[in-house]
Amino acid sequence: MTAVPTPPSRRRFLGGALGVAGAVAAGGAGFGVGEVVRRHPAEAAGPDRVPVYGPHQAGIATPAQDRLVFAAFDVTAADRSAVAALLGSWAAAAAQLTAGLPVGGGVDPQRPPLDTGEADGLPPARLTVTVGFGPSLFDHRFGLASRRPAALADLPALPGDALDAARTGGDLGVQACSDDPQVAFHVVRNFARLARGTAVLRWLQLGFGRTSTTSEAQSTPRNLMGFKDGTRNIKAEDAQALADHVWVGARTDQPWMTGGSYAVVRRIRMLVESWDTDSLADQERVFGRTKDTGAPLTGTAEFDQPDLAAKDAAGLPVIDPNAHIRLAAPETNGGQKLLRRGYSYTDGVDPATNLLDAGLFFIAYQQDPRRQFVPIQSRLGGTDNLNEYIRHTGSALFAMPPGLSGPGDWYGKPLFS
């Protein structure tokens, strides 16, 4: 964009009404009501901005931001071209919003502003927008059945599932992450507005704090159980691990997914009040880590490699056979790993019990859920010590297509062409 940069704060906009009127008069082209000049900050590159264009969608292997809004949509239109136009509008909006610009278009006093406005004047705060397609999008409605990747198989029923249908599934998924929660919310609100008549929100989840580290430059945050989990996550700097475990390679059955990834999202409620009454020793046994430093029980520092074979003086495993760290370890799962990008959430108080409805909104990116998430969760869901304290209450799967190549590209363009 070549728009002249002027820092737009709300105060300035209100105080500048006279200036705007003057500008219209000076324009003198006979555009009475129609034209109000609106200026926006230049697209300054910098720590606040994550590029929206590239081989992979941002928001997967880019450093995890502090806040999340994740939304699933159901398509209501019967028309495939309406879905394509929506995805085109979302791509254009994502480009604008990640650059700190409003949803595009002119301003006309006679019609509602195209952008809802609550992010005006806010920096993007490393905003990323990641869009994907649920298995249900590939049903009979839009003629996409033959383009459904085998890896986008419906997730099977898994041990420990207590899924709420209203928090599960969706035709389209949108992950908005930013260090500013209002900026992330603004994305989903405007995407829902752009979708009116074509798709409706199915569910929405706010995440208030990241629980994962996707870059070596970040420290590992604690989850709501007070533990550092996901220490051994795949990091953005590890190109080999990304190629082996996260990005869909050239051998996919659906070339439109090459460079994409599959997101499994699970709303995992933690029974935090029960957890809080568990002894420290047992909490550490459940995870297989010390609570204080995050070190595995066989080590002294967080990033020490856990020794799953270590035995104590009595000949018992130091890391419990059903410890979370053991069951989730690549060594236990045939070398399989996930890129985790989860967030802590709370939805307030459970009205039935007055207990906190809080936990982990788990997001994992991977090459093939059939090889990665499903077997790992089948193992965890069966015997993980943690199961006593958690419930999987929501679930969804999305095929996240590759990144946008540039302006004019849109999510799934080759899929719809």
Partner: protein, 393 residues
Amino acid sequence: MPLPSIRQLTVAAVALAMAGGLSACGSDSSDTPAGSASTTAGDPHTLNVTISAADGCASDRKTLDAGAVTVKITNRDATGVSEIELLSGERIIGEKENLPPGFSGNFTVEVGAGTYTLYCPGAATEKSPLTVTGAAASSADTSTDALLAAGTKQWGEYVETQVGYLVTGARALSTALKGTDLAAAQTAYKKARSYYEKIEPVAESFASGSQDLDADIDAREGDVPAARWRGFHRIEKGLFADKKLAGLATFGDGLVTNTKKLQALTTGLTYKPFELANGAQELLDEVSASKITGEEERYSHIDLLDVQSNVEGAEQAFADLQPGLAKIDPTLASTVSSQFTALNTLVGKYRSTTDPSGFRLYTTLTNDDKKALAAAVKAVQEPLSRVASKVTR
């Protein structure tokens, strides 16, 4: 629904069909991927426009011949632009919306000799002039104005008709409230309701200071101090919650007085096109705000009748604008129209012969039913919210 509405809707439909014929040489292909639009270099009746981040709206010609002109637009890479308008003075004579980068579309308009402006809101270069040579301007602009003016007149007639029915219904209700037959009074309530809900925004516009005709006719319990509470919903509470006629006669008389007051205020009233658009929007807001939640008819549960009445009033206002709007923006006109059709189909699912309101009671709807209704209303409202700006300039 009485005849006037049906007649007007038919007129609108014919006009729309004509507008469709005008642009039959290929309009509305917003889903076409970029690059597929063929270039007809040298055709003085075709304008190829490329929208780009660097140059804004760039067209391949600066002059065109008078007559039918097709504007073919491709948005190459301007993420801040999603629409283009062709202006004659300040009036939009043609437009294409929903054109994000990577999409193409076109529209066709009839132009006479003169100077026009291509306007791409939000583009690097927003405006560029166009000259049309040849035959003088037809009366296209004035006929659009005439169509819109005729529409506002029709709306005025519609309002007067509905208010007439409202007064009649209020009288019948008032009479029933003085009798002894509770069931008959309940039916009279249900019969009278719909006429007010069709034109409520007009009544709302007369609120000023302590005078609030809308509140006097339609306030719900708690909207106003208890001592001031009167009108339909006070009667509704007596009939459906208390199930007693005693004490209601005075409210019946008051309702007749206030509806007659409304009739005096609305008779001969004139409207501007944008007021119809905004009125339609307000009627649908009524649906979203208080009907979907079941708060409006909290004792009688005939909210679906109110929904249908709000929607009918909104669609009527839109239908009155539609012939004019179809000349300005046929795509928008047909989008709103088809979303109204979808909404009507959905509301129609709940018709019932067992209740005098003509609909199932709202308490029988599931949350999924309500969600679908809310989404269908929003699907009309979003495109409808753009109509006022189109018919204003």
